[in-house]
């Protein structure tokens, strides 16, 4: 959009500049040519005046006058006797006849004869016949007069335009640059709030519902920003309502669940009581998980984050007492610096507890384990490994009770990693033990 607006501004400015520059260029060309032509005539007039003033100048005086007045123009003076001083114009074999329209009569009025320059061999030629003193017989073919010729080629006549061209081109370019700068300013004013609004929309769509656009800039764009903000507010409200409804429904389910549990306890057959009780517990845990998930934003804010290094260290310390009791060696590698990830401290602690609990549940006492936390390009990686004999086949099945552990351990860890924009992978270590790797995104 920015590029298009700039192109439009440059195009419009260029058109306006052209609309003025072309007629101006034609005018300059005409005026410069006219000035140069008039100059040719002036030079001829000056020489003619000189001849008229001196009446019978010497050749040396004429040469000096020609050099002095005509400069680089092709100029010559033909003496009454036919001798030519100076350089004749091109096509000198058939020069046009010198009009004596002015004749000596003009001289009577104290001025040189006037003859307009004529086009001649790709240039302008001025020929002036300067009359003799009255009574003096003509002694040459031109009727005994001096003929002054000054010629300038068209190239010479147009040579004065170059400066004007530069001035015109410079001012046109300057105007164009002013246009571009103005366009850039306007574009920024339009595009900046629009870009910010787009970024806000992206952040909202990627899950950051706290993002809000700045409702500024031109009125229409500010309107887009505030409309987006209203939309985000509404999404927030709807999500909060939805969550509250889920939590409320789940809470209500706890009452019949209590009745169920009490009835299960009252069953006469203890084995049956335990079985039904275990089912009730599973429902209860699921319900608690639903409420927990629904209340998560209320608890943690919209974007949870925690220092993984601190949380993992604290959980390892918690399990260290049992590890000592069971004679388990542990190899723990944690970063010295805080390492923030996109998960709440509670959720991360639950995930770490679940993984460590699995180690204690599925490996014999004395089995060593290791925990490594390290920063990655996109967040953090937590690896929990043990020297046991690998995971039991049903470890990944949700809700399955395995050797006294909740059986939900890996599921808790997997959900924590997934909610933090990461993943969980299971593998075997070189010693055949289990390696669980959790990847977490940065906040």
């Amino acid at each position: 959009m920015r590029r298009r607006i700039l192109l439009l501004v440059v195009g419009m400015t260029a058109l306006v500049v052209l609309a003025f520059a072309v007629p101006l260029a034609l005018l300059i060309r005409h005026v410069v040519f006219q000035d140069a032509t008039n100059e040719v005539q002036d030079k001829a007039n000056q020489v003619a005046n000189f001849l008229h003033f001196y009446a019978t100048p010497t050749q040396a005086q004429i040469v000096a006058q020609l050099d002095n007045v005509t400069g680089d123009r092709v100029a010559s003076v033909q003496l009454p006797n036919g001798t030519v001083i100076g350089q004749l114009p091109p096509g000198s074999a058939a020069l046009p006849s010198v009009g004596r329209a002015a004749g000596p009569g003009d001289g009577d009025h104290g001025g040189p004869p006037q003859t307009a320059p004529v086009s001649w061999h790709g240039g302008k030629l001025t020929q002036l016949g300067v009359g003799q003193a009255p009574g003096q017989a003509p002694d040459n073919a031109e009727g005994g007069q001096y003929v002054v010729r000054v010629y300038a080629s068209n190239a010479q006549l147009h040579s004065g335009e170059t400066g004007w061209w530069w001035l015109l081109a410079g001012s046109s370019l300057g105007l164009l640059l002013v246009g571009v700068a103005g366009g850039e300013l306007v574009t920024r004013r339009i595009v900046r709030p629009l870009t910010h609004t787009a970024q806000t929309a992206h952040r909202i769509s990627s899950g950051d519902t706290s993002a809000r656009a700045q409702a500024d800039g031109p009125r229409e764009i500010a309107e887009v920003g505030s409309a987006l903000n209203r939309l985000a507010d509404r999404i927030d409200e709807l999500m909060a309502e939805e969550r509250e409804t889920v939590a409320d429904l789940s809470h209500r389910l706890r009452t019949p669940l209590t009745a169920l549990r009490l009835d299960a306890e009252a069953l006469r057959d203890p084995a049956e009581a335990e079985r039904v009780g275990a089912h009730v517990s599973t429902v209860e845990r699921t319900l608690t998980a639903v409420i927990h998930a629904a209340r998560r934003p209320q608890r943690e804010g919209r974007l949870p984050s925690s220092d993984a290094a601190a949380v993992v260290a604290q959980r390892i310390d918690f399990w260290s007492a049992l590890a000592d009791d069971q004679g388990r060696a542990s190899n723990v590698e944690l970063p010295d610096q805080p390492l923030f990830i996109r998960a709440s401290a509670d959720d991360l602690a639950a995930a770490v507890d679940a993984l460590l609990e699995n180690v204690f549940a599925h490996t014999p006492e004395g089995t060593a384990f290791g925990v490594t936390l390290e920063a990655t390009g996109s967040g953090a990686r937590l690896v929990v490994r043990d020297d046991g004999t690998g995971l039991p086949a049903d470890a990944m099945i949700r809700g399955r009770s395995d050797r006294g552990s909740s059986g939900l351990g890996l599921d808790i860890a997997r959900r924590c990693a997934a909610a933090a924009g990461g993943s969980m992978t299971l593998g075997l270590s070189s010693s055949g033990g289990t390696v669980v790797t959790l990847e977490f995104g940065a906040p």
């Binding site: 209500r252 706890r254 009745a259 549990r261 009252a266 209860e284 007492a321 049992l322 204690f360 006294g404």
Partner: protein
């Protein structure tokens, strides 16, 4: 045992809980709404009130406030909500304890016992002594051979649960139920790790136990070290 006033609108829970509490030896008067509960609390003078918050006539929290205005009977609130703010609100309103649904009869009994103990309305000795281990259930203080031991809440409750049945092997299932209110489905490791901390704080290890003895495959037994008397 104690006279319990049970205020619960759900008939199934009321019936089951009444039966369970009577089985435990408590006298139970059950009502299903708020206003009769207030009347019963004043007229029958129960030892403890178990109050459900979701009542049909008056909000349970209002019943609690009104009850507090006329009586200082211990009240245990049963609620389906487990958020902290709700707990704080209920305790501020005058509840002595709370229990979160779904609960077991054993948990209710344990709560009733704990509340009565705190109120000094029980015949139970508030100080339990096992060898050099002394547990004061009123001040939550524990000493071993005269040396004070700092325990976290769960550690204290675990020690207390074991001390009440000193000499007996208590299963991890029982401990999960009593201490963690996880009747079924809790993890044995939860008990194990707290036991390890308890051992550490009591100055012993699993290999060289003094008070806490693990009985493999069965549970845990708290007993005085040999050479000292129990209780």
């Amino acid at each position: 045992m104690a006279q319990v006033l049970l205020v619960e609108d759900d008939a199934a829970i009321r019936t089951a809980l009444t039966r369970s509490l009577r089985d435990q030896g408590h006298g139970v008067a059950a009502v299903s709404s708020g206003m009769p509960a207030l009347t019963a609390a004043v007229e029958q003078k129960p030892d403890v009130v178990l109050l459900d918050l979701g009542l049909p006539d008056v909000d349970g929290a209002d019943v609690l406030s009104m009850l507090r205005a006329v009586s200082d009977v211990p009240v245990i609130v049963a609620t389906a909500r487990d958020d902290e703010s709700e707990m704080v609100r209920l305790l501020d309103l005058g509840a002595d304890d709370y229990i979160i649904k779904p609960f077991t009869a054993a948990q209710v009994t344990a709560r009733i016992r704990a509340v009565l103990r705190r109120m000094g309305r029980t015949d139970e000795d508030p100080v339990i002594t096992v060898g050099g281990l002394v547990i004061d259930t009123r001040s939550y203080e524990v000493t071993v051979d005269g040396r004070p031991v700092e325990l976290a809440r769960k550690e204290f409750e675990l020690l207390l649960a074991l001390a009440r049945r000193a000499g007996e092997v208590v299963t991890k299932r029982d401990l999960l139920s009593e201490v963690w209110q996880l009747a079924w489905g809790g993890s044995d490791r939860t008990v194990d790790v707290h036991l390890s901390w308890l051992r550490r704080k009591l100055g012993e290890t699993a290999r060289e136990p003094r008070y806490l003895h693990s009985v493999r495959g069965v549970g845990v037994r708290l007993a005085a070290p040999e050479g000292t008397g129990t209780r």
